[in-house]
């Protein structure tokens, strides 16, 4: 059964936007909880940094106040990284995919988007932010659940997984990158209540706090948190976990569906995975976490390009005389 290249692309991006939206809702939610301390302003700004939106943000806002940042990331349709924009993109992809995906998947995204759109006409007061973020997160999880339960398992399913895990890996590196730097403790703060609570925030954003506690019952250090988020083999949002999934998906696409393209992407994932597995966190930190995360992000971006070239019809179409069935 053939899969239209354009469908594969839409599936890939629908998955990415839904994953991205969930991550952003998590980050906003957790920040809301922790922005009541003395570093509130800094915290809101770090979300802008995390998404590398400084330039765009300051072109329309003077200061990163809570209100400005929240509006910017919830409802600003000029900001392609806002939840409403993401949902819009997810819905546009889903709309293109309606002949392919289940009616339930489409309906849920459609209703979700329409509710968010309606909400955007009235301001979300700070007291409700957490509630709204929880709702968004749950809608994203509902999407995940409906997808798991209704998405027909053929090529399309693997492109969905691929999009989701590439996005998730990317999000984890971004969160870690910005947090590691804004939170790089000044000598006085090491081990202070503030320091620990900031790292807790990072873990909570990725729903990893309890799992982390289980793995490291004593102590929380930048090293253990970074190591956990990068390399842990059981944590569903760790970079290693995500890359392993991408690897498996690519392998199955090429073996089960005999897709000819994708050799380059396959090679890149293999390299990325062995690089991730070859160095302990201490060595990574010694040589510079930021550079390391940058490198991973670059690998993921290049991987996306290679996948697009291999499967989404980005290449000038070469006349492969495909046999009938």
């Amino acid at each position: 059964m053939n899969l239209l290249a354009r469908y594969a692309e839409s599936i890939f991006w629908m998955a990415r936007y839904m994953e991205r939206a969930e991550n952003l809702a998590r980050i906003l939610d957790v920040h809301e909880t922790f922005s009541r301390d003395t570093r509130g302003v800094t915290n809101w700004f770090s979300i802008v940094q995390l998404n590398a939106d400084e330039k765009d943000f300051f072109s329309r806002h003077d200061r990163p106040t809570a209100e400005a940042v929240i509006h910017y990331y919830m409802f600003d349709t000029q900001n392609s990284n806002s939840l409403l924009s993401m949902l819009h993109m997810a819905r546009e992809n889903a709309r293109a995919l309606r002949p392919w995906i289940s009616t339930e998947m489409w309906t849920q995204i459609n209703v979700f988007h329409n509710k968010l759109l309606e909400m955007s006409t009235s301001d979300v007061p700070m007291q409700n932010l957490s509630k709204v973020c929880t709702w968004i997160k749950e809608e994203c999880q509902t999407h995940t659940g409906i997808t798991e339960g209704t998405f027909y398992r053929d090529q399309g399913w693997y492109f969905y997984q691929m999009g989701k895990y590439i996005e998730r890996a990317d999000q984890t590196t971004r969160l870690l990158d910005i947090k590691y730097h804004t939170l790089l403790p000044s000598p006085v703060e090491v081990g202070s209540t503030l320091d620990v609570s900031q790292w807790t925030t990072v873990l909570r954003s990725t729903a990893g706090y309890h799992a982390f506690r289980r793995v490291y019952p004593r102590g929380m250090s930048p090293t253990t948190v970074a190591g956990f988020m990068l390399f842990n083999e059981g944590f569903p949002r760790s970079v290693v976990m995500c890359v392993r999934q991408i690897d498996g998906v690519l392998t199955r696409l090429r073996s089960r569906y005999e897709l000819r393209g994708g050799a380059q992407a396959m090679e890149r994932v293999d390299e990325l995975l062995s690089a991730l597995l070859s160095r302990p966190i201490e060595a990574v930190l010694r040589q510079g976490l930021h550079e390391y995360l940058d490198w991973i992000q670059l690998q993921l971006i290049t991987l996306t390009t290679e996948i697009a070239q291999a499967y989404f019809g980005m290449d000038a179409p070469v006349a492969v005389q495909a046999q009938s069935q």
């Binding site: 053939n2 290249a5 309606r98 002949p99 309906t107 006409t121 000819r260 495909a322």
Partner: protein, 511 residues
């Protein structure tokens, strides 16, 4: 939660009760639901007329009468919400943005007896046969032109006549594979053809979805009535698409070619692709190499054999037709002419559903089939003819004047309802370009009980049956009943605020 303001479905206000609003049905007297209903002088689809009482709807009327008006409105509201959430919508473009609208759905069904349907089915089949014979003729020997039955310039001078089709043979000589015939019913209960749609008729998805919706919200009304099913349309369409595929292909690849997500009928394209189980492709998904059509897949190019295209001729192939079209597939005409790909409908069918050619269809039926039309036309005058123009100008206030090139109810002047200024405007246009117009008497469209803010009221309806033809013709039982929701209006088009009703064709025993 409510949908956002700007996306609210048309007609939603009907279902909002405000304090001062009067509802014609007194509370606590549910049996009164239809008792104050008065269709006036029009033929009524549920009650019939004095001469032709609708005995086949007795049970349905009885059940409807037993319902409470508020209950009816509540169910209607449920339906609209569901249609909106499911995205069973068409897109309306305003100055600012594109808005999803549902086609308003009225929950009182339109019912056709088995006997009436036998008549309609035969009439539609006959008409499709004649139009296909006509198309084959004008693209081959042109006997009908040589015999002077239809003016040559009307055909060859028609903007939808495609010289590229001359001499080309198509499978089973079928050009119009999917046909939508617009029927109206006059004051005497006689069905008449108002218009043929032989290019890319739309609306069939609503027929099937309306039925699903009806079965969900009105199980108590539907039960044991014996309604002919409509949900096999997709299978029938796929069968036809396979049948017309190029010979020698074992398992032909069928696709549906859509202009894309921004097309107002995109939902229907999705619906049909899903029902057929075939990919919905856009022009950019297809390429032509060595006069063969391929689609771009994750594994390179895969051959395509049969295309249900929902794209007008003009956009189909920028190399052959409109060079600015980004929606089409360069080279597809050559592939088609070589017989490497089937297209439904064929290229060049627009000349057969032209409003001016329409007037000649009864003569066509006589000419090709030696039969009388089973369903008559509405009496029509062709303003290109001097007598007809004079008659039209003399009786402007009594006639409906239609431009022949427009679709969707645009540009129509309804004489009896037009202001003096509008009539003068119409007269000027007629004189400036008479051959662009036809005129018809006002047909007193039949009515059907419909839910309105003022209770159950008569509203005008039409009927568009859908016929699928490859080797043979199959007609979907029923069709799309469109209803003019605004009081007194005759225009039922969705772009003009019309809605739709579920259309029931009763099984044999029930009539």
């Amino acid at each position: 939660m409510q949908p956002p303001e700007r996306c609210r479905p048309v007609g939603r206000d009907w279902f909002e009760t405000s304090a001062g609003e009067s509802v014609s049905v007194p509370e606590g007297k549910p049996s009164d639901l239809l008792s104050s209903y008065n269709p006036g002088l029009y033929f009524d689809e549920l009650f019939g007329s004095m001469d032709l009482p609708a005995e086949h709807t007795a049970l349905i009327r009885q059940r409807l009468s037993g319902l409470d008006f508020d209950e009816l409105r509540r169910r209607a509201q449920d339906v609209e919400r569901e249609l909106y959430n499911l995205g069973i919508t068409f897109i309306v473009y305003s100055e600012k943005d594109a808005v999803d609208r549902i086609l308003p759905f009225d929950i009182i069904p339109r019912v056709i007896s088995a006997k009436e349907w036998t008549h309609l089915e035969a009439g539609v089949t006959q008409r499709v046969a004649a139009l296909n014979l006509f198309l084959h003729d004008i693209y081959h020997d042109q006997k009908i032109l040589k015999d002077g039955i239809i003016p040559r310039e009307l055909v060859e001078g028609n903007s939808n006549f495609r010289p590229q089709m001359i001499g080309l043979d198509v499978p089973f000589n079928t050009y119009i594979h999917i046909m939508g015939t617009d029927l109206v019913r006059d004051r005497h209960g006689t069905f008449r053809v108002l218009e043929d749609n032989g290019r890319v008729p739309s609306g069939v998805s609503y027929v099937v979805e309306n039925r699903h919706m009806m079965q969900r919200v009105f199980p108590d009304l539907v039960q044991d009535i014996g309604i002919r099913p409509v949900d096999n349309y997709g299978h029938k369409l796929l069968d036809a698409m396979m049948e017309i595929a190029p010979a020698g292909v074992d398992d032909p690849q069928v696709v549906l070619l859509s202009p894309g997500t921004y097309n107002s009928a995109y939902f229907e394209h999705i619906f049909l692709a899903r029902e057929m189980g075939v990919p919905l492709v856009e022009g950019r998904d297809l390429v032509v190499e060595n006069d063969r059509v391929f689609m771009k897949t994750t594994n390179g190019l895969a051959p395509v054999h049969s295309i249900y295209r929902r794209l007008d001729d003009a956009f189909l192939d920028p190399r052959a037709f409109n060079p600015d079209s980004l929606l089409g597939v360069p080279g597809i005409l050559d592939a088609y002419r070589k017989g490497n790909v089937a297209l439904a409908n064929a290229i060049g069918t627009g000349v057969a559903d032209d409003k001016a050619v329409y007037c000649y269809v009864p003569r066509m039926i006589k000419y090709y089939l030696d039969q009388d039309p089973i369903i008559p036309n509405v009496d029509t005058r062709i303003c290109r003819e001097a007598d007809a123009l004079q008659y039209t100008l003399d009786h402007l206030a009594e006639l409906v004047v239609k431009p022949v090139g427009e679709a969707g109810g645009y540009g129509i002047t309804i004489g009896p309802r037009a202001s003096k200024a509008e009539l003068e405007d119409c007269r000027a246009k007629l004189l400036a370009d008479p051959s662009n117009y036809i005129s018809q008497p006002v047909v007193d469209l039949s009515v059907c009980p419909t839910v309105t803010p003022d209770g159950i009221e008569p509203r005008h309806v039409d009927l568009r049956p859908f016929a699928i033809t490859a080797r043979n013709t199959w007609v979907l039982p029923g069709g799309l009943s469109r209803v003019a929701l605004k009081k007194g209006t005759l225009i039922v088009n969705s772009s003009q605020g019309g809605g739709s009703k579920d259309t029931w064709v009763l099984e044999g025993g029930a009539s």
